[in-house]
């Protein structure tokens, strides 16, 4: 196996190219869009990235974690803003464990630079119009001059994202391909907090800020230049919804009512609200992820998830590092590696897809409630006393390399236990007593 082509030069495709190039394969990258290092990418659709442990391991494997850490901002806790301006915080882990806000653009450009420097051939403006699954021939059309071309590889990776052309080929031309795309009834809108005049942040920098409001929420992640990228997650229909806010006055009035402390920080709210597109939130599952050891799906192309656990990129990077581990284990015998990659990653991807939808409810609704805060406090307290017995679900997902489906299974069990604990009488006052401690230990048996 010599020539490998990757369709899609986004985050996962670029990182995969680095891995495979390092192993000695002849790698080509084929990207639908223009070279983002040369062309200004229209803003307004990005949801900020939060790099966590799985993502870091992916970057470590090609020794670029230190480079990337320099462009990241650690966020050690969630900061919740209530309607009346009250602020509460929740640490993400213990001992200042944090997730890192990073710019998608800078990260992707860095990966492309490194790939090119390493000898990866990158073709931009190449829209994939067809794949001959048995021969390994790919057909492309140039997105500007519409010139057609074709390319051959011994193995093709589909890393072309949620609406992958590569996956569509599997849907259209193979039998027994299971597939689902499921949309949330919420969409999102990118907004922005401006920096202070001196270039510093208007809100605490090392936090992920959330304005949870039940049926919807606003979040803000810090950027290096003192701004925050802000995202409104909001129903597409109903009241209130994107449909129910008809004009600038209504938008302004709505924000003043429900996000009063955010309004003075926002860059031109009314302009951005109507100018920036409304994004969709989709979960995509499919199986199998490969065809005949010729085509393999990876990242969002195999398992697009909603952004509420901050794991989309991290999961895709973990795909890459797991694949690399398997190539080591099986000495680059792809006929063994591909089925094993699928067997390991499919249940993991299904699990994080489900957890991400679940976490939407936690973030937009529960996160601000006293009962929820107490619950997290008890979990944290018990976990600190018995780290061998209990790791909070968020910690397993974000700060460990436990397969997502194992984290999900343990999380469900712990959740059932916490339901029991929260029923104990006077729990607000006895929460850190030995009675509670022993009850949890009992229930864990």
């Amino acid at each position: 196996m010599k020539k490998i082509s990757i369709i899609g030069a986004g985050l996962v495709g670029s990182l995969l190219a680095l891995y495979l190039n390092k192993r000695g394969y002849k790698v080509t990258l084929h990207e639908r869009r223009p070279d983002m290092r040369k062309v200004k990418i229209p803003a307004g659709r990005s949801i900020n990235l939060a790099l966590s442990d799985r993502g870091w391991r992916g970057l470590q494997g090609v020794a670029i974690d230190d480079t990337i850490r320099q462009i990241g901002i650690p966020m050690t806790h969630r900061t919740m803003h209530s309607v009346d301006g009250k602020i509460t915080t929740q640490p993400y882990g213990k001992d200042g464990q944090g997730i890192y806000a990073v710019s998608r653009g800078i990260l992707n450009c860095t990966l492309l630079d490194l790939a090119e420097k390493g000898g990866v051939e990158i073709h931009f403006n190449q829209r994939c119009t067809g794949l001959m699954l048995t021969s390994g021939e790919m057909q492309f059309e140039h997105s500007e001059n519409h010139q057609k071309s074709s390319h051959h590889a011994d193995l093709i990776f589909g890393a072309d994202g949620a609406f992958a052309a590569s996956r569509l080929q599997l849907q259209l031309s193979t039998d027994q391909f299971n597939y689902s795309q499921r949309y949330l009834q919420h969409g999102y809108k990118e907004l922005m907090f401006v920096a202070k005049a001196d270039g510093s942040h208007q809100l605490e920098k090392n936090a992920l800020h959330i304005w949870p409001r039940g049926g919807y929420m606003l979040i803000a992640l810090p950027n290096l230049d003192g701004t925050f990228t802000v995202t409104l997650f909001f129903p597409l229909k109903g009241n209130p919804s994107f449909e129910s806010l008809h004009n600038k006055q209504e938008v302004k009035a709505f924000f003043q009512k429900v996000f009063p402390d955010a309004v003075p920080l926002l860059h031109d709210l009314e302009e951005d609200f109507f100018h920036n597109p409304t994004g969709s939130l989709v979960t995509i599952k499919c199986a199998p992820w490969s065809f005949d050891n010729k085509l393999v799906l990876i990242g969002d192309a195999a398992h697009a998830i909603v952004p509420f656990y901050g794991q989309g990129m991290n999961c895709g990077f973990e795909d890459c590092s797991v694949l690399n581990d398997l190539l080591n284990q099986f000495a680059d015998d792809w006929e063994k590696v591909i089925p094993e990659y699928e067997r390991m990653r499919k249940p993991a991807a299904d699990a994080i897809g489900e957890l991400a939808v679940d976490n939407f409810i936690e973030m937009r609704d529960l996160v601000g409630k006293p009962e929820f805060l107490l619950r997290k406090k008890i979990e944290g307290w018990f976990s600190e006393k018995h780290p061998d017995k209990w790791i909070p679900l968020y910690t397993m997902v974000t700060f460990s390399h436990l397969p997502y489906h194992e984290a999900q299974a343990r999380g469900k069990k712990q959740d059932a236990i916490m339901n029991e604990i929260m029923k104990m009488s006077d729990i607000e006052n006895i929460w850190n007593s030995s009675m509670v401690e022993n009850r949890i230990i009992d229930l864990l048996k």
Copy 2:
């Protein structure tokens, strides 16, 4: 609204054309395949149809039920064949209620004849290659001479089956389209029982014959010419499976072991087994079923289901009659009709899709077991005594017009009650006692 085009001239598309033509619309039908009345359709993929009450109502609405009844064979019961040749039967309903075996080909040809006679324009060999969803323009390519053409309509129906080109347009070019295709791990193979020399049937004619064997099964439905169309539902992989039977000897030996009484009746088993294609079994769900009141999906294009409840065609015909009722109710105001059609039919289609998968387990496994037979006997007995209180699920689905999702909900409740009843001690002997009767009445409260 004047011009309506229907993509797909299968059973549902043809019946819909008859309905709309009768209402005074200018209707065109566009079919990918050649005219089946002129060209011999290759055999080997058909699963026999069983017309039941919902289907009959669909035909009544355009007054062709009497015509079709003449080509149908009533089946009043299931006949189960065990490995040791023992035969048991189960009535489908009471008082000789039956479902009708009909030939898909004859039924479809009849519908096409009637549509054409009524003034519907039918275009064959027209593969739909594109739909302009906003303008109502359809693009076609002739499947033989590859000539391209386009056609315009005020309203388009997608009746082009499980792998609808029309639905693909919704997936590819609209936002927020929920979609799933899920395959069973079983496939099917068409086989045949030959007629006696005098043209009569070798097995009892007025029955649907089943050879339930746990993980797989054989079924046989009578044809007018004395033959039976036989279908083997069988795992695609594993042992035994389509993959594990490698040659004619192995197929013959396997059939002789597990379907001994069927072997002498079969037309050239070994030849048919390897010559006929292996079919797939898929459940397709999507939402929405329409776009902008310009395109509406109907039948399998909207909700392909597996064949184990015998409801695929019946459900599609019910789509047509419900739509026609709504056109009456709203005086052909399509802007009211289309959303209401979708609101009524989507949960119904989801329900029958799930029931059909559930029924596979019942047919291939439970149907032959004494406990299951007793359970059905108790249900039948109680239902006969209290028809106002209990209608067996099969009866609600097959012999009523209760929306499928209501039937499903009542079925679940009844199932939970029967689980309790079957736990009663000595139930085999007291099954028709007043104790059991009163217990059911209690549980129903």
